[in-house]
């Protein structure tokens, strides 16, 4: 391994470490609070969970800034898959669980809305309104195969 290549690999490893360390904390405690919120139908716990997850996302953006990089393809894919999976679990549970109450429903809708809002806000801050529109537009075209 030549020294430059090694230096680059270590730098990339350190960025990955920062991301995983950060999500290891924010993700685990965020999910735990979220589960407690849904389990006990408790707004405070649930919102605290979302706050930690959003804090995790903000922290990830800051890490990208410090390491002068952006989200890589794997991270974007993982994020979208997890978001989709949670949304699916939420919808299925809401439909199939008889004791699912208004607080749980409210928690789910609030959380997912806020997370989507934060994502949109990030894209607008990072790429501007026109840039965000272009990203969405190009994704739409790619999906539609046009």
């Amino acid at each position: 391994m030549n020294p430059n290549d090694r230096k680059h690999r270590i730098a990339s490893l350190e960025r990955r470490l920062a991301v995983m360390t950060h999500w290891g904390l924010a993700g685990s405690f965020g999910m735990a609070f979220l589960l407690s919120g849904f389990n006990a139908s408790d707004w405070t716990c649930g919102l605290l969970g979302y706050a930690l997850l959003i804090g995790g996302f903000v922290g990830h953006v800051l890490i990208n800034h410090f390491f002068d990089s952006g989200f890589n393809a794997g991270e974007v894919a993982l994020g979208l898959i997890l978001f989709g999976l949670f949304a699916l679990v939420f919808v299925v549970t809401a439909l199939l669980t008889p004791q699912y109450n208004r607080v749980n429903l409210g928690l789910g809708i609030t959380g997912f809305s806020v997370m989507a809002l934060v994502l949109a806000l990030y894209l607008i801050i990072r790429y501007g309104t026109r840039g965000t529109w272009n990203i969405v537009h190009s994704l739409w075209y790619r999906k539609a195969g046009k």
Binding site: M1, R9, L25, F29
Partner: protein
């Protein structure tokens, strides 16, 4: 299978996978033994900050500290100020050791001491001290982790099984990735430790009453202060010993021979225990962690902000809250019998079972939030692993460099050095496990020596970093004398004496002074006297060369030297009032403990408020030493150029 057990197994599996992942990832960027042994001296500042915090405060702050606050009350809570005293060792020594590592290419503190003082005696003593840290002390931590898993799983996972499996995972990632893997995993472990402490305090507060929990605790403490209820009864000032320090010093024969009145945590005991814990960052493991840093940018923030401020607030407020709260949540039989408990959320913990407190707090969450019980268990295990990982990897390196390369196979190539290091790590963890499994009593006696012995390196390190007139003979004789005194003021010394056919006239920690305190006083006396006798001009010139390097690179500019007397005076004043004899004023200066809430300033017991005030002042003192005094701030660009010019390779 209970829900807690399922979540525990799932989260433990995730945690183990995370550890092994970073072991493998670290191995993939390894370029030689320097990487395995010392992370190629390229650890980033933030990784150092988190790992050093996790490894310094480890499991004792999470599992031990709140339990002892529960048992002994605010007189033990005084030790929350360890958050300030422990990083002071780092402020004094890390930056200068790092500089010497950069300049001379030292890998172990044995190499540094041997080069600076000449001869091999200090190198051998460093090996012995490192082994005491890596074997019995690490074994104690691993055993505590096993017990925690057993308690939380309700006995479904036996302690020994948990200990062996978790240690094998530790062994796997350390043997694959070396110090880099230990530090990379350690950054998350440090964060989990802090989260665990925060969560523990919040759980206690929640059980005391979600909205009025703190007020309820204060009222309960006020009621407690009215009489002498508690295991220690009243102090000499006739205050409840839970809420007051039992004096400056008590001239007792020591634990096991004579019990102190009103509790053991006199000002002398608190101060000398602080010395013992200050030994953590003077230990060979932390010298090597300092060597492994890419630059000096991490030292100041770790010592002042992460340890002093961050861990300080967690210990002074949250850990003390968890400990005191447990007394009124049903964990203390005496208070339950006196009708002082606010609820019975926790089961009564008999004397000797206080170590279960963390597990019992977690089990209160098991019915409603089993995932939290499991997550907070992983937090404690991670804290244990952080400390053990550092102790074991660095001791493995010390064995390779100071034993194998020095005395056995000096021509060993890179691959063989790495192989030896892996074998040493596996052997150390294996021995620690065997000791924990088959000889737990011996392990406790041996482990008790680790901190006291580590702090005995202080004069030797002070010589290297600050005081050129300390000679090899002075440092060596002081170290031996101090270590001997530590041994004979701990139970192991008494056991050895009994084996030899006579009894020591004192027990453990006579005059309510910790063995580390006795040891360091004797060490300093011997060091000063012998150095004065043995000063030799040629040796002094050799040592002076190191100090000229410091003067050229990191000394304070002349115009700022007026700060020195100010800073050191403030440090001494802080020690005197925060953890020294002056702390006795905190008993009632801010309200008599038996005066009730109305008499307490801010509605908080005087001693606790005293601790909070001196913690805040302590952070300022740390900052003063670290930054304006430049003891932990990174060197400027010109100094860095000079350091690079003088560095080998």
């Amino acid at each position: 299978m209970s829900q807690v057990l399922i979540w525990l197994l799932a989260l433990l599996a995730l945690y183990c996978a995370y550890c092994v992942l970073w072991g493998v990832s670290s191995a993939r960027v390894q370029a030689g033994p320097a990487d395995f042994l010392l992370a190629s001296r390229r650890l980033p500042a933030w990784v150092f900050g988190l790992f050093a915090t996790g490894a310094t405060f480890g499991a004792w702050s999470l599992l031990g500290f709140p339990s002892l606050v529960m048992r002994d009350g605010l007189q033990f809570g005084q030790l929350a100020l360890l958050a300030v005293t422990v990083p002071m060792t780092g402020v004094l020594f890390f930056k200068r050791q790092w500089l010497l590592g950069k300049r001379h290419g030292y890998v172990t503190p044995g190499e540094m001491l041997s080069d600076y003082y000449g001869g091999d005696a200090l190198r051998i003593m460093v090996i012995a001290i490192a082994l005491f840290g890596a074997l019995p002390y690490a074994g104690l931590q691993l055993a505590a982790g096993g017990s925690l898993v057993q308690w939380v799983s309700g006995g479904a996972i036996p302690a020994h099984l948990a200990m062996w499996v978790l240690t094998l995972v530790l062994m796997l990632y350390l043997c694959i990735g070396g110090l880099r893997a230990a530090a990379y995993v350690g950054s998350l472990q440090g964060l989990l430790l802090c989260s665990g402490l925060l969560a523990l305090g919040l759980v206690a507060l929640w059980h005391l009453g979600a909205d009025q929990g703190f007020e309820a605790l204060m009222q309960a403490l006020a009621k407690l202060g009215e009489g002498p209820v508690g295991p220690w009864g009243s102090s000499a000032q006739n205050y409840n010993a839970y809420l007051a320090s039992p004096g400056v010093m008590q001239f007792t024969a020591g634990l096991g021979k004579e019990a102190p009145v009103g509790g053991i945590w006199t000002a002398a005991m608190v101060l000398s225990t602080c010395f013992a814990f200050m030994g953590i960052q003077a230990s060979p493991a932390f010298s090597m962690l300092a060597f492994s840093c890419r630059d000096a940018r991490g030292f100041g923030p770790q010592q002042v902000w992460v340890s002093g401020a961050g861990m300080g607030v967690l210990l002074v407020f949250f850990a003390v809250l968890a400990g005191l709260g447990a007394d009124f949540l049903g964990a203390t039989a005496v208070l339950n019998a006196a009708g002082l408990s606010l609820s019975r959320v926790l089961p009564e913990l008999a004397p000797g079972q206080e170590g279960q407190l963390y597990a019992q707090y977690l089990l209160t969450l098991a019915a409603q939030s089993p995932w939290f019980t499991a997550l907070l268990t992983v937090c404690a295990l991670a804290a244990i692993h952080a400390m053990v990982a550092l102790l074991v990897t660095t001791t493995g390196t010390i064995i390779v460099r100071d034993v194998m390369l020095r005395y056995m196979t000096p021509m060993a190539d890179a691959a063989r050095q790495k192989f030896y290091a892996r074998c040493a790590i596996a052997a150390l963890l294996g021995c620690a496990l065997l000791l924990a499994t088959f000889a737990p009593n011996a392990q406790v006696q041996l482990g008790a020596l680790a901190l006291g012995l580590s702090v005995q390196l202080w004069p030797a390190l002070a010589g290297v970093c600050w005081i050129p007139w300390i000679t090899r003979e002075g440092a060596g004789v002081g170290l031996v004398a101090g270590s001997f005194v530590v041994l004979i003021t701990e139970p192991l010394g008494a056991t050895i004496c009994q084996f030899l056919g006579f009894d020591l006239p004192w027990g453990r920690w006579p005059w309510t002074i910790h063995s580390a305190g006795w040891g360091i006083v004797v060490n300093i006396v011997f060091c000063v006297v012998v150095s004065w006798i043995s000063n030799d001009k040629n040796d002094r010139a050799h040592r002076q060369a190191f100090h000229r390097f410091f003067a050229a690179t990191v000394a304070m500019p002349l115009r700022q030297r007026f700060l020195r007397p100010v800073a050191w005076s403030l440090t001494l004043v802080w020690f005197f009032f925060a953890v020294g004899p002056g702390a006795i004023l905190g008993n009632d200066l801010l309200g008599a403990p038996n005066g009730g809430i109305a008499a307490w300033v801010g509605g908080i017991p005087s001693l606790w408020l005293w601790q909070m005030i001196w913690w805040a002042l302590g952070v300022m003192v740390l900052w003063l030493l670290a930054y304006p005094m430049r003891m932990a701030s990174p060197p400027g660009p010109e100094q860095m150029d000079l350091i690079r010019q003088q560095a080998p390779g």
